[in-house]
């Protein structure tokens, strides 16, 4: 399901020093290794809930508590989560012959205590729960296979994919917006979540019509959007992708839910929650690892959130932190098994409007990202921070943003809209934004191929400067470790401590006999039918 990267990056236009690039990569590897060591031997309540979801557990109790939460809390309350929810579920399956959903319902009804059950042999439990997980994964994978065929059959856009949000708060209104988006040339529709869903340590259940600044990510909402977009795609002969957010306290669960509905794309970045939602660093990074593993395995393209830094830090000064973060995010994604073609690194066009030669700096940075990660479909984000209520001003800035996107062949572009500086855009705003994109992408189609940058000129120098700054940062981070670096406000000018933050209670030390068939299966073998690029 990977989004295609933009057209191949030709010969370097920036004349980057390969030694500096390699030093950056090396530092990033050290940083990622250090993170892996820190989070090893731990799981979280939401990772465990994802395991239940990938075993087919769904639904909610009368108090609207989702059954995955009921199950995991049940075990956690009783102190058994160090073995992994899979162990207990597997044991119950083995003992009762019931399926995971029935077991969850029984627990919810208070009819069953998983820790009270007689225990089977570890190996039999593992075999049982692994088989069940495998069957589920294969089932979901088969869905992705069919989807790949469908996309093939229906037809897909080459070149930069146009990523557009819908965020009405009401899933049925989102469908209306999504259709308008599709008609105007959008390729990826992202169901933006209701505000503060990040903070919920559960995923709401059912279709929802009341959200603020977005619509809740729920299994039912995903399904409604998927059906509507598949129908549109069939009718109109262009395949529309779907996307949502794997972020906040339920990163891996949402990855599992999205997989079930064949979501093609997922924003997946723990740093957003850590920096802007005060989620504990460790919690975030554990969740992210599993979340990315799930996305990666199913062929879903992930998008990282570097763009966010430029919303609180300065677009010119903070550029090196974006590049540094891309190196780290790339490495963390690779370490979770996400292949290059599915790593949509974040970048944004956020230099303030009145900066002289701002366009040249933006161009340098966009080209830099492309040259550093030539096989990754970078997700390029529009100007937002400096946009205001002057709709025309925003639209003009978007035109140049679109120009840089196409001239540097970004893989995915989140489109800008004229009301970006005011409110959650109205239906026509999305369309006007897409019209701007269509115009610019087409009228400047081969501009990137046509031009070269003056050696040692403003653009090349800026790129070298940003890369050099990134290396300094990366080496510092590698020395102190990512956790300390975050505490030092390296990203987005925000500081967070490793021992504070939301969701810290949901971290669980795993015992030796910890069982997690999802991670085990996914680490062991790529999904059948996954493209060869899967590494």
């Amino acid at each position: 399901m990977s989004a295609p990267g933009g057209p191949p990056v030709g010969r370097s236009k920036l004349g980057l020093d390969p030694g500096v690039v390699e030093a950056c990569r090396e530092a990033a590897r050290r940083i990622a290794g250090d993170v892996a060591a820190h989070i090893a031997g731990r799981t979280t309540v939401s990772v465990e809930r994802s395991v239940t979801r990938l075993l087919g557990v769904d639904g909610a109790d009368d108090l609207e508590v989702p059954l995955p939460n009921v199950l995991v809390d049940h075990v956690h309350d009783r102190g058994g989560l160090d073995r992994g929810i899979a162990y207990w579920l597997g044991n119950a399956m083995l003992m009762s012959g019931k399926g995971p959903q029935q077991i969850a319902e029984a627990v919810s009804a208070g009819e069953l205590d998983l820790l009270d059950l007689e225990r089977g042999e570890d190996e039999s439990i593992r075999a049982c729960v692994s088989d069940a997980t495998r069957a589920n994964l294969q089932d979901i994978a088969a869905g992705f296979e069919r989807r790949a065929e469908m996309r093939e059959r229906i037809g897909d856009r080459g070149g930069t994919l146009r990523y557009v949000l819908t965020a009405t708060g009401d899933v049925y209104e989102d469908v209306v917006h999504a259709k308008a988006v599709a008609q105007a040339g959008g390729d990826i529709v992202a169901v933006i979540r209701s505000t503060a869903q990040s903070l919920l340590d559960y995923v709401p259940y059912g279709p929802t019509t009341e959200g603020y600044g977005g619509t809740f990510a729920t299994q039912a909402n995903f399904r409604i959007m998927r059906e509507a977009m598949d129908e549109w795609s069939e009718e109109h002969g262009r395949y529309i992708r779907l996307s949502s957010f794997c972020s906040g306290l339920c990163m891996s669960e949402i990855a599992a839910m999205g997989a079930r509905e064949g979501f093609d794309n997922m924003v997946n970045d723990a740093l957003y929650g850590i920096l802007y939602r005060d989620i504990n660093i460790v919690r975030g990074l554990i969740d992210q690892r599993v979340s990315r593993m799930i996305n990666g395995w199913f062929g879903v393209t992930i998008n990282t959130g570097e763009d966010n830094y430029l919303r609180t830090a300065d677009g010119i000064e903070a550029a090196p932190s974006v590049t540094a973060s891309q190196f780290i995010n790339y490495q963390l994604a690779r370490d979770s098994g996400v292949p290059d073609a599915q790593i949509g690194l974040g970048d944004a066009f956020e230099i303030d409007v009145p900066v002289t030669n701002g366009l040249l700096f933006e161009w340098a940075q966009a080209q830099l990202t492309r040259e550093l990660f030539p096989a990754c479909p970078v997700k390029y984000m529009p100007p937002t921070r400096h946009m205001d209520g002057n709709l025309f001003r925003t639209h003009a800035v978007d035109a140049l943003f679109n120009l840089v996107t196409i001239a540097t062949s970004q893989g995915i572009q989140t489109i800008g809209v004229p009301t970006e500086g005011i409110f959650t855009p109205h239906i026509q705003d999305r369309v006007l934004g897409l019209q701007n994109v269509e115009y610019v992408f087409n009228t400047a189609r081969d501009l990137g191929e046509e031009i070269e940058f003056k050696p040692g000129g403003i653009i090349q120098s800026r790129a070298h400067e940003v890369l050099a700054g990134a290396l300094v940062l990366l080496e510092r981070i590698a020395d102190v470790g990512l956790f300390a670096a975050i505490e030092q406000a390296t990203f987005g000018d925000v500081s967070r401590r490793v021992d504070e933050g939301r969701g810290i209670d949901g971290i669980v030390e795993t015992g030796e006999s910890y069982m997690n068939p999802v991670v085990e299966l996914m680490s062991a073998a790529p999904r059948e039918g996954a493209p060869a690029s899967y590494a």
């Binding site: 009401d170 049925y172 917006h177 209520g389 002057n390 109205h426 239906i427």
Partner: protein, 257 residues
């Protein structure tokens, strides 16, 4: 649940059915100030918008302030009643028109057209009449059932009318592009008055067009139809041939536009 639109009472839609949101912008001849913002809010409220909001305002020059606003419109319109009004007519193709004329009119239709008054914009009338036509659709000159006279631009109304009389035209076609201070309205009105003064109104189909001409405006000024942007020659021709056939057979069809 997905909601059905009630076509009897539709309102502007932003992201929730019925929300009524409208974007507005305008300049007020008042100095840039907080009081200016207040004036804009008051004006929007007077117009009848609820929850008016200024999202942007700035000084243009001393004493003039520009505003971008949003407001909720509480009025609604009955769309279902409009659908019947003969608006969404089916146009005939060039071929169908030719056959229709042969069958229902039985002779060549004569039309005379021009861009009148001081208006030198001839592209619109040329698009309707000249062989080349518009966006790949022939102009009426290319129809064998039409005889066309395109007098070009800057044509006084009197010259246009004399020509129509001279060639015994079935229809006069006028194009108007320059509209500042309603120049087009003056110009279009003058022609109708001349036609009426000559006692020719009932023998002639009068149609006009231009980027800011509408069917409503045309009728108000005494034309049979008005055509705006996006008009193709076969739209005009469909109207002329139906209208003419109706007149010949004694009844009238609702005008297109």
């Amino acid at each position: 649940m997905p909601r059905d639109v009630d076509l009897h009472a539709v309102r502007p839609y932003a992201d929730h059915l019925g929300d009524g949101l409208v974007q507005m912008s305008f300049t007020l001849p008042v100095p840039y100030s907080l009081a200016a913002r207040k004036a804009a809010l008051e004006l929007a409220a007077k117009i009848g918008f609820e929850e008016p909001e200024v999202v942007h305002y700035e000084e243009l020059t001393e004493g003039y302030t520009y505003f971008v606003m949003y407001g909720r419109c509480v009025q609604s319109v009955d769309f279902s009643s409009l659908q019947g009004e003969g608006f969404d007519i089916e146009y005939m193709s060039e071929d169908e028109i030719e056959r229709f004329v042969e069958k229902s009119v039985g002779r060549t239709i004569v039309v005379v057209g021009a861009s009148t008054g001081s208006d030198t914009h001839s592209v619109g009338i040329d698009a309707m009449l000249n062989l080349k036509g518009y966006h790949g659709h022939h102009g009426l000159e290319g129809y064998h059932t039409f005889e066309t006279y395109n007098l070009g631009s800057q044509v006084p109304n009197s010259v246009l009318l004399s020509k129509a009389i001279e060639v015994n035209a079935d229809a006069i076609l006028v194009s108007q592009t320059v509209t500042q201070q309603n120049l087009h309205v003056q110009n279009l009105t003058e022609l109708v008055e001349m036609v009426e003064a000559e006692g020719r109104r009932s023998q002639l189909i009068l149609a006009c067009g231009g980027p800011r001409v509408s069917n409503e405006l045309a009728k108000e000024l005494g034309y049979d139809a008005g055509f705006s942007k996006g008009t193709y020659p076969h739209h005009l021709a469909t109207f002329i041939v139906r209208e003419l056939a109706a007149r010949l057979s004694g009844d009238r069809v609702p005008a297109a536009g």
